[in-house]
Symmetry: C4
Subunit: 269 residues, 4 copies
Amino acid sequence: MSRTRQKLYEIIFEADTPTGKLFDVVLLFVILLSVALVMLESVPFIRQDYRTHLHILEWIITGIFTAEYFLRILIVRKPFQYIFSFYGIIDFLSVIPTYIGLFLVGSHSLVVIRILRMLRIFRILKLSRYTQAGRSLVRALWASREKISVFIFFVIVLVIVIGTVMYLIEGEANGFTSIPRGIYWAIVTLTTVGYGDISPQTSLGQFMASIVMIMGYAIIAVPTGIVTAEIINPSRRDNTQVCPQCLWHHHDDDAVYCKKCGAKINPPA
Amino acid sequence: MSRTRQKLYEIIFEADTPTGKLFDVVLLFVILLSVALVMLESVPFIRQDYRTHLHILEWIITGIFTAEYFLRILIVRKPFQYIFSFYGIIDFLSVIPTYIGLFLVGSHSLVVIRILRMLRIFRILKLSRYTQAGRSLVRALWASREKISVFIFFVIVLVIVIGTVMYLIEGEANGFTSIPRGIYWAIVTLTTVGYGDISPQTSLGQFMASIVMIMGYAIIAVPTGIVTAEIINPSRRDNTQVCPQCLWHHHDDDAVYCKKCGAKINPPA
Amino acid sequence: MSRTRQKLYEIIFEADTPTGKLFDVVLLFVILLSVALVMLESVPFIRQDYRTHLHILEWIITGIFTAEYFLRILIVRKPFQYIFSFYGIIDFLSVIPTYIGLFLVGSHSLVVIRILRMLRIFRILKLSRYTQAGRSLVRALWASREKISVFIFFVIVLVIVIGTVMYLIEGEANGFTSIPRGIYWAIVTLTTVGYGDISPQTSLGQFMASIVMIMGYAIIAVPTGIVTAEIINPSRRDNTQVCPQCLWHHHDDDAVYCKKCGAKINPPA
Amino acid sequence: MSRTRQKLYEIIFEADTPTGKLFDVVLLFVILLSVALVMLESVPFIRQDYRTHLHILEWIITGIFTAEYFLRILIVRKPFQYIFSFYGIIDFLSVIPTYIGLFLVGSHSLVVIRILRMLRIFRILKLSRYTQAGRSLVRALWASREKISVFIFFVIVLVIVIGTVMYLIEGEANGFTSIPRGIYWAIVTLTTVGYGDISPQTSLGQFMASIVMIMGYAIIAVPTGIVTAEIINPSRRDNTQVCPQCLWHHHDDDAVYCKKCGAKINPPA
């Protein structure tokens, strides 16, 4: 029994064996199908014309996911730890909305929960070789979190000021019906999205908008600069060398001698 | 008396003690509430339905800010220096509009002044650890101010030329009613905002617009390049030192010894 | 005979001789004319007014391309290898739609195939000095393919979640008629394109959109950072060599000797 | 006489003396006023209400520029060289439209020519300290001209293909009335401008548009990467060192020893 369990564990939780890989590929396909189904269900004419087909497919997928969920609980060594882990909760939320839907027909908002099935893809990908690339991107973003926070805080203060000024200049007649709407316009403009649902009509408003847009030019360069710098020099932050002579500790990664006192420092391993 | 004053000074002006930190957090909350209030007041239906509630809250906040303002004047050693300092003026402008509003009912533009309360957040943040990240960003932007000025000047000349040409091509019938409006369109296009409130209708105009947009591709790269370079190599600029022993010449501005061979290099004059 | 063939080969396939260059320039001109023709043909009023002119020009160009195609088959040493090569197929697809059009009048979709003539430009450019610049760009994009894939996968997951949430918030009355349409809106917003054909109407929707746009600020920095890093340090990746004499470790992949101290370093296996 | 001429030369052509600087500042003011005048003249209601005022101001400015133009011819050593130089032609074009306007009343297009007065600003700025920053930007753009040309050529091929495909998918009913219009849409989308004057209406078209937009994410990173790399490492291109032993010639700027054969190479002066 224990050997079967071990084998099933390797198939379901790992991806080193051919059957383990096959299991992952099949699961990936079912997840993608399931997400596509949730999307298609929201399209009015598909929902009406293919109601039965969608219904049957949904129950097949829910069946597969339910079986997989119980299999995982049976096989894993510490079931409760799995059930309350991140992926355990995701797995639970992937199947429960369909069952609830039996009693609460028409509970429309449950689609959001079923779309969470998509997050199950990450578990499969975690095993693949693309993770390293992903990790280095996350690390770069994480390392620049302080600078990006400061930047976003500055942008928020800026759009509040711009939004208020534009609310006063343009007024309610030109679509700037309140300060929050003015702020919404300021964000749409500064991020260069530019829907055009609200746009300045007065000459003064258009002049102000022009300044905001040109300002946005310099501003959009900042997050790019932060992230690029972090990707290019990822390790400058994590350098923990301390000069044995003068105790200075901001050495570059390629430093062999302390640039402050000339003493030799230990190169990174 | 002097000791109480010293303690109050530590609470109000500094953030090293627990009570000092608590004071800052409470103040931050009141400021954010106050800014939210100004925003909500501008929304038509909220202004009508909750007039009394907003009024009462506004007076409570003004009361807190007024008390805080006088406390600061009393506690600080040089009251006049505080009153005419940047934050002293902000503090004054944070409370005065509400009092003026007693006599000049309906003075709508005063909302702008009250939104300045937001700037008081910066005083609190100045004490936090996020400031270093902010300072390095400001330094990078400040160090690239000349290049960015030149760039923005070039962009202004470019949009004036493009705006004039488009005004002639499209004419008043297609929304390009004047050269300034043409320039406004050129800015909206070159910054990739693209509201669509004015867009070229003639074939020649759309061809010109296509060239402007593709040109904008190369142009938007310039400020990003400037700021990124400044963030990556903040101090490399203008450093012309060469190590007399190993001839390496990418020394940081603060280097005294060559980090490659340990030889002493001549510091900049 | 063999010498004439060799000379024709040099003219048609190479660009080292003056006649070879002339041939390429003429061919480039004919290709550009041909592509312009396909475009003009699609403009309704030109198609009606200049039907005969376009027809004659089209047949002249097809004649030139057909002659060139057979010449290439005759001259090349391994005709079949050429016929089934990438450019051989492109050359074939460049002429065949016009002949098919003789029998199937009005087969509108054939214009797509004729636009492929444009790809023939690449063969001519392959011989020019601009190729090196192109190759280094392609290499930079290719080297960052893993990171960009991970990034695009992350963006896709993000827009699916955002699109679903917005579909629920805004609903079908405000243009978010289905989840796919919500996802379309999310992509339009996150990439800062911002058509404005669908835009949030409710306050909550505009608030969500604001968060998405500011998030887009940090997100757009990521691909820029990846590509920039790759262009700046094209070969630094994965190189773990350390000079045995001076311990410097930023060697290029093709380095055999340390460029800092001249000691021999071990080439990668 | 010669000394007066020398002094006038210093005042008009140079900016080292106080009077020379004053002359430049006054001229800059007149130029900006003149450009503002041309812009204001294009605004319908200003043109009607202030016709006389604009007329008088225009003649005063033309008078100043005419006087300056003849003064320059008189003072300069080689008058003909000045007249046919870039700035000589600009100076001539700055005054002639007003005189022509005496005979050809209503010649509207002449405004374009008068806007060229703006280019005279560059002559004044050439003498200022901002030029160095400008030059380094121009150098960075110039050094990356090959890569940017290849990039723009690639973008043009891409938008032609995308535009043709979208013309076939969406058709004339949805605003894609011809291939050139499809290409215009593709440029508007790929550059993230997004006017929204033409936007895909069919599901397939919106799906295609989504792919184009996400593709645009990676594409917009390329010019930024090129220019950033050039600003960060401006001198890597101009390295002309050749290894005296193995004749390899792609050395980095910081190379002291040839990384191919280990021979010492001459460091840049």
